[in-house]
Symmetry: C2
Subunit: 233 residues, 2 copies
């Protein structure tokens, strides 16, 4: 028996990174963690963001302008988020943060999925964004990060130079719309149970337990069949 866990997330989403840590904490306590098949699903908070980034250091001003707040208000929001992250052991450096388009980062996450390195790349991208000031659309930085987690450079270059996995990103986003997902992180457990947002580890663990327990099939009908003792050729 396995349990699919699909997490819709962006790489510029602070609650997603906090939620990743909370999910990891829940998973560490989940008795069937070896049977969990985790997939990171693409979700762009701002598909219209420019790929080319602004310089670091003006994030609080950009945030204030974007959301119509004063700079001190925006700084309080960032301080609160930084504290939430610190409680999960994460060091958020919004003073270094830069905006950027995340579409290509998501395409690389799909490449990484094929070779089992998706979670490693997701972690590395989140850390780069929130601790190291990555501009998400920066191909030079993305390439270095992808190669660092073990993706073949030739494959990474090919993805960045083409539109490979664009369909996969859009398919994830279409699935999110079909599910009615309007914010991230969003956890789908067993294709059936939805958890919206970065809930505490206890709540995520309870959801994992529920999805596991209620996983057995609901039989909706029976007809003629063959078993080991009848009717094979």
């Amino acid at each position: 028996m396995s349990l699919n866990v699909d997490i819709w997330s962006d790489v510029v989403c602070p609650w997603c990174y906090v939620g990743k840590r909370r999910f990891e904490a829940a998973l560490a306590r989940f008795p069937h963690r070896e049977q969990v098949e985790l997939t990171w699903r693409s979700y762009e908070l701002d598909p219209t963001a420019e790929r080319t980034d602004a310089p670091a250091g003006a994030h609080v001003e950009r945030l204030a302008a974007k959301y119509g707040r004063t700079v001190p208000e925006a700084q309080r929001m960032l301080d609160e988020m930084t504290a939430n992250a610190a409680a999960e052991g994460l060091e958020f450096r919004f003073d270094l943060a830069r905006p950027g388009n995340t579409f290509d980062a998501h395409r690389l996450l799909h490449l990484a999925k094929d070779s089992g390195r998706q979670d490693a790349l997701k972690e590395r991208l989140d850390r780069a964004t929130f601790t190291e000031g990555l501009a998400s659309g920066d191909h030079v930085a993305l390439r270095a990060i992808a190669v660092e987690v073990g993706l073949p450079a030739v494959e990474v270059d090919d993805v960045l130079a083409s539109d490979r996995y664009a369909d996969a990103v859009r398919a994830d986003e279409a699935q999110a719309r079909a599910y009615g997902i309007s914010g991230v992180p969003f956890f789908v457990l067993g294709g059936r149970f939805g958890v919206s947002g970065a809930q505490p580890a206890d709540a995520l663990l309870a959801a994992l337990e529920q999805a596991w327990t209620e996983q057995p099939l609901q039989t909706v009908g029976a007809g003629p069949s063959c078993d080991g003792d009848t009717c094979e050729v």
Copy 2:
């Protein structure tokens, strides 16, 4: 929105081939058929079957011996099955049938899955078994069939000469055990609804409709998240 349909089946299972036709009839009437993602899952009715086959022509005698029936009784079973198949437009030629181990056929079905040719190969294998007297373990015949449906010969040869996809076959069978599946065909709709056996198309269509309708997520909790208007970096 998509709907996964996983069908556990063997290639020497007459009800599986009949069930395939009934499922196809149901699918043709299912309004969301373009969103159905069909996967054939491996199930061996007799994992201990010898790969090397008996000559054709003695199937009814083998069947009678295997199930402790008289030859006329076994013939009646075959005639009834042949009539069931004919009602679905299938020509069963049990007079040509030969036994064989199906493990390698299942490995090829996993290879075919990777290139979108799984359903074509499944259909061709079933027809070979039930209409043309294929011995399921015959590598020469399997190779010809696999190449005929468009699999690259070099890949087919590599699979047949190795144990590639053995783990995938065993994983399908482990999943079947976890679901409590003891006979095939067995349909799993949306990872959630189980249909045992070759039910009529009407019943399969009703199951598809139910799985589609009840697919939306059950939300089991909400926590802090980011949407397009808040909190991204």
